[in-house]
């Protein structure tokens, strides 16, 4: 089997991403136009008459056919211009550039926390299935899956911020200007979404490790006298790493989505808050811009995962 160069893999992946991008932005655009509620009414102000609202539609080009509006957005986006908020006039690219690092920091910390807790839990559980530790782990994992992120977020604020005053209750700080402060602000929201991640990692890892450990070649390894820890670290984990990478990529995408709610609870001006504001006000350039950016992120995450998987498992090639 001929090994394809990473450059080729990346190239073909990006090509495949184009239709995804088109479809995603088109669907979101259609949805925004299909739901009732009209930004022209907001744009026309509080004392507007029907004629004024019609006038506003014309001024902002909102009276053009649906496909023409999407086409003009797409044409601009292709040239790197995500246009601007219809209401406030801020460039969408500016909004995204400011919001994305806030969201990214939360997701990064959440991922580290989820892996740092989930991996040991999964291993411990898999070593002695149905043992006491395994039962504790599956209980914690069930809790992690069952607890809604927004609820955990509110409990965390009430206890850790308001009562103990250990961490800030709301807001975000730019990471580059003050990394320490930024992490302090991001920690609680990260914990709130890491709980689910921890559970997911622990459960999936336990499952796949058990499968590997009960396979015939592991029995052979036992038979030739290899120690349990060597089997686990050199063979077991290497074989589940592909699964692990897949879990992580799914998790990152899921956590990005989870920030929508958690950002509201912590008043973090991130991508979640941005798209919610855009959607509520029917400010479609914002929504389109965020979707556009998110599709790129998801595609990148999947691409990196594929490359990593291919690196550890040569069987994944085509």
């Amino acid at each position: 089997m001929a090994r394809r160069s990473p450059a080729k893999v990346i190239g073909s992946r990006l090509l495949q991403a184009l239709p995804v991008m088109l479809l995603a932005t088109f669907m979101v655009f259609s949805l925004l136009k299909l739901v009732p509620g009209d930004i022209a009414v907001t744009l026309a102000g509080e004392n507007a008459s029907d004629t004024r609202i019609a006038e506003i539609r014309q001024i902002y080009g909102l009276d053009r056919p649906f496909l023409v509006q999407y086409g003009s957005w797409l044409a601009n986006a292709m040239q790197g211009d995500l246009s601007q908020s219809l209401l406030s006039g801020e460039k969408v690219a500016t909004s995204i550039a400011r919001a994305f690092p806030n969201t990214l920091l939360i997701v990064a910390i959440a991922l580290v926390l989820a892996l740092a807790t989930g991996i040991p839990m999964g291993i411990v559980a898999a070593i002695k299935p149905n043992g006491l530790l395994d039962k504790v782990v599956s209980m914690l994992a069930s809790l992690g899956v069952a607890i809604p992120g927004f609820w955990l977020a509110m409990i965390l604020v009430a206890e850790i911020s308001l009562k103990l005053n250990l961490l800030p209750a709301t807001g975000a700080k730019p990471f580059l200007a003050s990394p320490w402060e930024a992490m302090r602000h991001a920690l609680l929201p990260a914990i709130a979404i890491a709980a689910y991640g921890m559970a997911e990692v622990a459960r999936q890892l336990r499952g796949s490790l058990l499968e590997v450990l009960s396979s015939q070649y592991v029995r052979t390894l036992h038979a030739k006298g290899l120690s349990m820890s060597k089997i686990l670290w050199q063979h077991g984990l290497k074989n589940v790493s592909v699964n692990l990478f897949t879990i992580i990529s799914l998790l990152v995408n899921r956590m990005l989505a989870a920030t929508v709610v958690v950002e509201a609870v912590f008043a973090i001006p991130g991508m979640g808050s941005l798209i919610v504001r855009g959607a509520i006000q029917r400010d479609f350039p914002i929504v389109q811009g965020v979707v556009f950016a998110m599709v790129i992120v998801v595609i990148l995450v999947n691409l990196i995962t594929d490359l990593l998987c291919a690196a550890v498992d040569p069987r994944i090639e085509q």
């Binding site: 739901v35 009732p36 509620g37 009209d38 009414v41 907001t42 744009l43 026309a44 102000g45 509080e46 004392n47 507007a48 008459s49 029907d50 004024r52 609202i53 006038e55 001024i59 908020s85 209401l87 406030s88 006039g89 801020e90 500016t94 909004s95 400011r98 919001a99 604020v157 911020s161 308001l162 005053n165 800030p168 209750a169 709301t170 807001g171 509201a264 609870v265 912590f266 008043a267 001006p269 808050s273 941005l274 919610v276 504001r277 509520i280 006000q281 029917r282």
Partner: protein, 522 residues
């Protein structure tokens, strides 16, 4: 606390403030003491604001929630009295109607815009002309009666009106009266100051990051003596009010405004906070579509008004922090009319009788549009129960605010009524003409109205004398309520929570916070 005691407390507090001329008062309904000290200069006030403004240009913005930001950077030609909303001098030192269609404004001397441009008659004319002609101006309706603006002196403009309009002094306390720098506007590439506001206000603009923060700093050359006290204001834009309230409890912000009543108990439990409340024009009401059944029959509309127990609604769903509404104006307003307030006492039997006369079959389902948030749903539940007693079965079709109002007022004509709220306008005539004229957007059915109403509305704008206007509005309100064109429910109180350092904050009847007299204790 019962509603009456609360209202009494609010009034007592206001009287107390009125007595303390010159000094700012710190007020707390929680029974805290009045700490009386001389206002200090300095410090930055951190406000949790619940919305990203639609624009920082008064002429092109669209949301009623923008004003609290605009007030810090712009002055208006007239200002309003905090307690009664009567217009008083602002950038206009004085004004008069020399005849019913000639309105003369004398402009204050020695005021400059933040960019150094002097405020004079030319600048005022420039602004008023822009309000009328700029294609993106959202205040054309406000100045619709102005036919022309003439400079009749270096500091005087004369407005020629196409019809008598004594609502203008009040209207000029709103967006239309906020003066932007002509120099800045002419230089602005976008043709507006949406993101680069330049006014004459107590604060100058520093920055605005959408959905995140708006920062202002002291205008060193401000014309009002000793103002502003604050070095600057930082608005943290936090859409969730509960989250915003937590940021104030945690000390990350100093003040939050327009909290829902159910937050009162929560913020009062936080010992580091104090709470200020006062009546506002913000009126919970049910808009009716009287262009289609069942509300095309006045008896059904009247029945609805008799069937609502407003006292109970206020107690149960607004934590008592509201005034039961009998018309579009609360008791404190200068144009409130007591006799109209007595038209619809709670009387389910009467409601039932009226429905019977109208041939309304017991238990017929009437669909109303409303919102799915916790507070709205609670009000819906109470109304369903109250109307059930009168024989009407309410069904609520809930949708987010933008969708619900577009579906009800726009072309779809969903539902027969909309449970929502009306935010106040500086002059009552605006409120009435926006809802009770044939082609008004807020007349959902675009249905005709009695001709007397139109005449009475015109009368209310024809005279400057406040007593005569009061009488004209009494007539308008009587006509609106006798026809039961809507169901007023309650005026929400302003609920502002702040930490103990914040001094001098006063609620106002419009319900849109101004920070003119606010200072920070060190």
């Amino acid at each position: 606390m019962t509603h009456d005691r609360l209202a009494a407390a609010a009034i007592t507090r206001r009287n107390a403030i009125a007595l303390m001329t010159g000094a700012a008062a710190s007020a707390s309904l929680g029974g805290a003491s009045f700490a009386q000290t001389t206002p200090k200069r300095g410090g930055t006030l951190r406000v949790s604001a619940f919305t990203n403004p639609s624009s920082l240009d008064p002429a092109t913005g669209g949301a009623g929630s923008d004003h609290t930001f605009l007030y810090t950077m712009y002055d208006s030609l007239t200002e309003w009295d905090f307690e009664t909303l009567k217009p008083k001098p602002g950038l206009a030192e004085s004004w008069s109607f020399t005849d019913p269609t000639t309105f003369v404004i004398n402009i204050r001397q020695g005021v400059t815009f933040h960019d150094g441009t002097p405020l004079n008659a030319e600048a005022v004319k420039f602004n008023l002309d822009r309000a009328k002609t700029d294609p993106k101006s959202n205040i054309k309706a406000d100045v619709a009666t102005v036919a022309s603006v003439d400079v009749t002196g270096p500091m005087q403009v004369t407005l020629k009106l196409n019809t008598p309009d004594t609502a203008l002094p009040a209207i000029l306390s709103d967006r239309a009266g906020m003066m932007v720098s002509p120099t800045a506007l002419k230089a602005a590439s976008a043709g507006n100051l949406n993101r680069t506001p330049v006014g004459t206000g107590a604060h100058t603009f520093v920055s605005w990051a959408d959905g995140e923060r708006i920062v202002t700093k002291r205008n060193e050359k401000y014309w009002k003596p000793n103002r502003p006290y604050l070095d600057g204001i930082e608005f943290a834009l936090i859409p969730e009010l509960t989250t915003g309230a937590r940021s104030v409890t945690a000390g990350q912000n100093d003040l939050i405004y327009q909290l829902p009543p159910r937050q009162k108990a929560i913020v009062e439990r936080a010992r580091n906070l104090k709470v200020v409340t006062g009546p506002t024009l913000y009126c919970f009401q049910i808009f009716l579509n009287w262009g289609k059944p069942p509300f095309d029959d006045v008896r059904v509309r009247k029945a609805f008004n008799f069937a609502v127990d407003r006292e109970a609604l206020v107690k149960a769903s607004l934590a008592g922090l509201a005034e039961p509404a009998a018309m579009t104006l609360p008791k404190a307003h200068w144009a409130y009319d007591k006799s109209v307030a007595e038209l619809y006492p709670y009387d389910p039997a009467k409601a039932r009788q009226l429905l019977g006369e109208a041939g309304f079959k017991e238990g017929t389902v009437v669909e109303l549009v409303s919102y799915p948030d916790q507070d709205s749903v609670q009000r819906q539940e109470i109304l369903i129960e109250q109307l059930r007693k009168a024989g009407m079965a309410l069904k609520f079709l809930n949708a987010p605010v933008a969708e619900a109002s577009a579906a009800f007022f726009g072309n779809e004509k969903r539902g027969s009524g909309l449970l929502a709220a009306w935010t106040g306008r500086p002059d009552p005539s605006q409120t009435y003409s926006l809802q009770y004229t044939k082609d008004a957007y807020f007349n959902a059915g675009r249905a005709p109205l009695p001709p007397e109403l139109d005449i009475a509305l015109k009368e209310s704008r024809a005279t400057e004398d406040i007593e005569t206007r009061r009488k004209a509005f009494a007539k308008v309100q009587r006509l609106v309520m006798e026809n039961a064109f809507f169901v007023p429910l309650a005026f929400q109180f302003e609920l502002v929570a702040m930490n103990q350092r914040v001094q001098g904050y006063r609620p106002n009847l419009l319900g849109k916070p101004k920070y003119d007299d606010v200072w920070l204790e060190s």
